[in-house]
């Protein structure tokens, strides 16, 4: 992505800052993935404090103990990303955003104070609100006068602003409500899955914001070309998103190793799930936890969907080669194919290495990138379709030839 930006209201440094936030978010997704892969999410039983200490006051000796390192690092890193997103919003939305930021900040601080007065047991949640409210007020206090970026970028920035706060709250609820029974499972599992899913969406959103601020995006609309086989791009993206949800479910339900062999499953194309077979499968495991039919079926759906998503992306790549050089869908198609190849290999390795934490986490990170690229491709298709239709409307009735559609 080129950083040169001809659009005067989209300064290059704003794009660079947004790219940094996107990179930091990818790091956060990786650490979050590592927390789940290692099963250390509850190593710090309280939130937003850590063992009663403030977020940034935890003694190093405690921070460096076993799984606390991953969980607390995830929390501190997330706070950093939250801080960056708030200031990115201030920068992107310009000085006009100060009033809204001030209102939101005051509301959050007040909500924190009220919460503390209502019930001292909600002190932690109150501190969280006071903390983010303080950061938002800090951003509102930045008096630098700057113009907003494009309307699209501003909208994306505000969406990221709200989403990062929601995501932080969900991460906290995942800890606080861990032992709550919700629909046959625990609050920890339910909120952990929502938190994981929203994390992917948030990453895609931040990458889209960075893209909208880039010089590359501003050149997308040149030489509009209709892409009639765009179905494969949309299908591939939908399948990747479905795959991420299936993967999340598997990770939080410990179904990643419900089937330990490849390419067959317990020597069958679709393993039996009668009681006797389940006992036989469990005997192959070292651990004592039972394997459930649901775990096996979800694992199989994940495998099948992996093949379908790969095929859809291959088709999208194949048809994108018909587009002219420099067309964003063509450029993204090649990258997308590479990523899905890496992702497929990481999926195989996850099973073959007995779900090694670093491999499983790599699988999560590359999955996020694959989804982001899919969303960019869908976006590029839409931008070109609109531009193409617009240009055709203008050209209709004129003597100029129409822009040829590429099959």
């Amino acid at each position: 992505m080129s950083s040169s930006n001809p659009h005067p209201s989209q300064p290059v440094w704003l794009f660079r800052f947004a790219a940094l936030v996107a990179l930091a978010t990818l790091g956060l997704v990786c650490i979050g993935g590592l927390v789940t892969s290692k099963g250390v999410g509850m190593s710090v039983p309280d939130w937003p404090t850590s063992f009663g200490y403030g977020m940034f006051a935890l003694p190093i000796s405690m921070w460096m103990t076993g799984g606390v390192f991953h969980e607390h690092t995830h929390r501190v890193w997330a706070s950093g990303v939250g801080l960056l997103v708030v200031f990115l919003t201030r920068w992107t939305a310009g000085s006009a955003s100060r009033k809204t930021l001030a209102r939101v900040g005051i509301a959050e601080v007040l909500a924190g104070v009220i919460l503390m007065q209502i019930n001292p047991l909600w002190k932690g949640e109150a501190h969280f609100l006071l903390g983010i409210g303080g950061v938002v007020l800090g951003a509102a206090a930045v008096g630098w006068k700057n113009a907003p970026a494009s309307r699209l970028s501003v909208r994306l920035a505000w969406a990221a602003f709200w989403l990062v706060q929601l995501q932080g709250s969900l991460g906290g609820l995942r800890v606080v409500l861990d032992s709550w029974a919700i629909g046959g499972t625990t609050g920890g599992t339910v909120f952990g899955m929502i938190h994981g899913c929203l994390g992917q969406v948030f990453f895609v959103l931040v990458t889209c914001l960075a893209l909208s601020l880039s010089g590359w995006y501003s050149r997308w609309t040149r030489n509009a070309t209709e892409f009639r086989e765009s179905f494969w791009v949309f299908l591939g993206t939908a399948l990747v998103f479905g795959q991420l949800i299936l993967g999340l479910w598997m990770r939080h339900q410990h179904a990643g190793l419900a089937i330990p062999d490849l390419p067959m499953a317990y020597g069958q194309w679709w393993p039996k799930t009668d009681a006797e077979s389940l006992v036989r499968y469990a005997s192959r495991r070292e651990g004592v936890d039972a394997i459930t039919p649901l775990q096996i079926h979800m694992h199989m759906f994940h495998r099948i969907n992996a093949v379908l998503a790969t095929l859809a992306i291959c088709m999208a790549f194949r048809f994108s080669r018909n587009l002219p050089h420099g067309h964003p869908v063509r450029t993204l198609g090649s990258l997308w194919l590479c990523l899905i190849g890496v992702q497929f290999a990481l999926g195989l390795l996850t099973v073959l290495t007995d779900r090694a934490a670093d491999i499983a986490t790599g699988h999560v990170a590359v999955g996020s990138l694959t989804l982001a690229l899919g969303c960019w491709s869908c976006w590029a298709v839409r931008v070109h379709q609109r531009q193409f239709a617009e240009e055709n409307r203008v050209l209709a009735g004129s003597v100029l030839p129409e822009i040829p559609a590429v099959r």
């Binding site: 190593s43 039983p45 076993g66 799984g67 070292e286």
Partner: protein, 234 residues
């Protein structure tokens, strides 16, 4: 005369209580090829935990002793107790210790309402995350060496899992019963269920985390009974 009556009534009370006191002894054996224990490699990789061990720490899925005796099996009265009778929780406090980054013992048995002490003998932090399904779960940190936190389970539940998320390989189990007639088999598979168990016929169940459950019928006569059970490798 008064004193004689007192002595006679005391003797009668002792006789009555000894008639009530009964025990079931026996052995749990394992059949089939027992898979070898595997090293818990993450312990070695952890700087603090690894320093506490000179030998590899092995998994304890199957601990087999003399004459195929299987350890860590919860054995308890499944049926036959007087209907509707309630029992007082013993005053003794079973201890679950976190030592060398493993739970000792792996299997604990307790009665509803009985206090269970959970201790951290290590010089660094553990957290105790109780993943109960029937009882209320809990999660707390034990940052100090020697720290003991008592906990009481208020409902009967088999295999309540305790895990340490700081060291995710650490897990222990508590079986909670609504009566005091239970035991956990020792390293050679031997067990003794003690208490005020009246003479009569009982169904006894043996529960192993990996091998599953097996039941047997036993008759306590004169306060004594023996029952041997077999579990198969799964």
């Amino acid at each position: 005369m008064k004193n004689t009556l007192k002595v006679v009534s005391m003797a009668a009370a002792v006789a009555a209580s000894s008639a009530l006191a009964g025990e079931i002894t026996g052995k749990i054996k394992i059949t089939g090829e027992v898979p070898p224990a595997r090293e818990i490699t993450p312990i070695k990789g952890d700087k603090l935990c690894g320093a506490l061990h000179t030998k590899p720490v092995m998994t304890r899925t199957y601990i087999v002793g003399a004459d195929h005796g299987l350890a860590n099996v919860a054995v308890y009265i499944k049926a036959g107790l007087p209907a509707g009778k309630t029992y007082t929780a013993p005053a003794t406090k079973p201890l679950i210790d976190q030592v060398g980054c493993v739970y000792e013992p792996l299997i604990t048995a307790a009665m509803v309402g009985q206090t269970v002490d959970i201790k951290n003998s290590d010089a660094f932090m553990h957290n105790v995350n109780c993943q109960a399904k029937v009882n209320k779960g809990f999660n707390f940190a034990q940052a100090t060496q020697g720290q003991v936190n008592p906990r009481v389970f208020d409902k009967a539940e088999l295999a309540v899992k305790l895990i340490c998320n700081v060291h995710p390989w650490m897990s222990g189990y508590v079986h909670v019963f609504d009566h005091p007639f239970f035991a956990v088999s020792d390293k050679d598979g031997n067990f003794t269920i003690q208490g005020d168990l009246p003479d009569g016929k009982y169904t006894v169940e043996a529960n192993h985390l990996k091998s599953g459950m097996v039941t047997g019928e036993v008759e306590v006569k004169g306060g004594k009974a023996t029952l041997n059970l077999e579990l198969a490798v799964k």
